[in-house]
Symmetry: C2
Subunit: 306 residues, 2 copies
């Protein structure tokens, strides 16, 4: 199969209690496509960067077998830049600056080859832009979008229109409550599914994630780490693991959706152990499978009778 | 085997957004012993009630095969009374009144028969009282204590002494952080284990629970309910399911500890679906096993290779 990833490529400045990194590779499309590359060898990237984007990072993406023919390089602009500072408990972050730069002009024309991708993942962006992209596509088997409170509050009508076109939406618990106006996550999920998406992923940070469909609720915990080094990109890494596994297996059964969310959690847990993209830059199947078995130990129990 | 349960028997007045019940049967020992009775037929109760304690509730406890020979009835005092009001989202509750009444004089002498119980569960109480009880016991295979922030902040030295004598402590996440002074739950757990307990259960409310030993971290989610009717007694019901399963199976292996925490969660989820004790008053094996299988669907996934 093939997985089309559309989103930001960024140069981030990140401060956590453990240190600071300046202008390091980030962005939703970077995290999603890098993560997916460990599962599927047919990842396609659509995004935009500025003239300051390091050549070695382009080579890095190529080294992951990511098709970057959809990557635009804006000659007279800089790359998207985000500067964030995390508080001591890592649950709160403050955005110091968000400079859209080249991304402000992002209005991609999807190539005929890319249009036929079976799996599509669109990172957090203006829902009007997300819709414009979706309308260019063929009929993907599964289309996931990410969003955030900024759009839920700022462009609720546009988001509603985009949600009608999506198969999966990935949100955190507070976003699910915000979209639906419901406090209970299960009720919230069913209300959002009535708008359009057939599958909901609700991320709960240190409390893991829920996968909810009409017939299924599946819960996966976050991996209990003694040190979360940097949460940046964890959500996108989660999405990349989820969609990468589905593209690799091309199986949308309930049991395989469960595995997809487990691999999403596996990859997110590897991501937050290091700064920025470092946790997922150079993984091997062995490292990924070791964490997968650790997740099994963490959650699996015998079948017994009373 | 046999399970000794020591704690409060109360008449509670509870208000939730769904209604109000006055002077309804409650208390830690009530919830723990009633829950355990579905697993083991050798549950023993030590507690104190006042002259106002309804005779039919004593008959109810007897009907569950609970040995109530350790239940003292104070002729000139009333039964412990707690009046609590839950906020709309059920995560916050306000105690309107806590009248200790007969429980103020609770200073039990454990009978020789009860002293030999293999499994012991002591509900939340003054750690000095908990210690005084523990020192009367023989050498139980497993001794669990519950506590709360009131004692952690008010009697830290006494609690520390009691913790040295316990095998398992059950706390919620904020209590674990309070005892240890650590924000990260895994680090907090290992710090608490250094005081004494070999096993920690950390309850996370709507986010489930963690079982932590030197060699194991196991995570179980809370059952995703559309309606939590009344959270009163959920923690004690959890403890009752956990200890009841262990007393029934008499197996302290890692795999069986996992099952114990799952049955704790199963029982707690049945508890909060109805008011006060109503959710667990009249259960059958079928109802319990149905929820157990629902927990399996919620958490179990296949073993695969990448």
């Amino acid at each position: 199969m093939s997985l089309l990833v559309i989103g930001t490529l960024a140069l981030d400045t990140i401060e956590t209690p453990f240190g600071k990194k300046e202008y390091t590779l980030g962005g939703s499309a970077t995290f999603i496509s890098t993560t997916a590359s460990y599962f599927t060898h047919n990842t396609r990237l659509v995004g935009i960067v500025g003239s300051d984007f390091p050549k070695e990072e382009i080579e890095f993406l190529k080294s992951k077998n990511i098709d970057i023919s959809g990557l635009e390089i804006s000659k007279d602009k800089k790359t998207f830049h985000w500067h964030g500072v995390y508080s001591h408990d890592m649950n709160v972050r403050e955005s110091i600056t968000t400079e859209l730069n080249a991304f402000e002009t992002f209005d991609p024309v999807i190539s005929d080859k890319f249009k036929k991708s079976e799996y599509v993942c669109i990172g957090n962006a203006d829902p009007s832009l997300q819709k414009k992209i979706i309308l260019q596509l063929g009929k993907p088997k599964l289309l996931m979008i990410d969003t955030m409170n900024f759009w839920i509050e700022g462009k609720p009508k546009e988001l509603n229109e985009t949600l009608k076109l999506a198969d999966i939406i990935v949100v955190n618990d507070s976003e699910a409550r915000l979209i639906s106006g419901e406090n209970n996550l299960i009720i919230a999920a069913h209300k959002i599914m009535k708008i359009g998406p057939k599958i909901l992923i609700i991320k709960k940070g240190e409390h893991g994630a829920l996968l909810i469909t009409k017939d299924l609720i599946f819960s996966v915990p976050a991996f209990p780490l003694e040190t979360v080094f940097d949460p940046t990109g964890a959500g996108d890494t989660f999405a990349g693991g989820f969609m990468g596994w589905l593209d690799k297996t091309d199986d949308l059964s309930t049991e395989n959706l469960k595995l997809a969310i487990v691999f999403g959690s596996v990859m997110a847990s590897l991501c937050v152990e290091k700064f920025s993209l470092e946790g997922i830059r150079n993984l091997t199947n062995d490292v990924i499978m070791k964490r997968f078995y650790e997740f099994r130990n963490l959650t699996q129990f015998e079948n017994v009778k009373l």
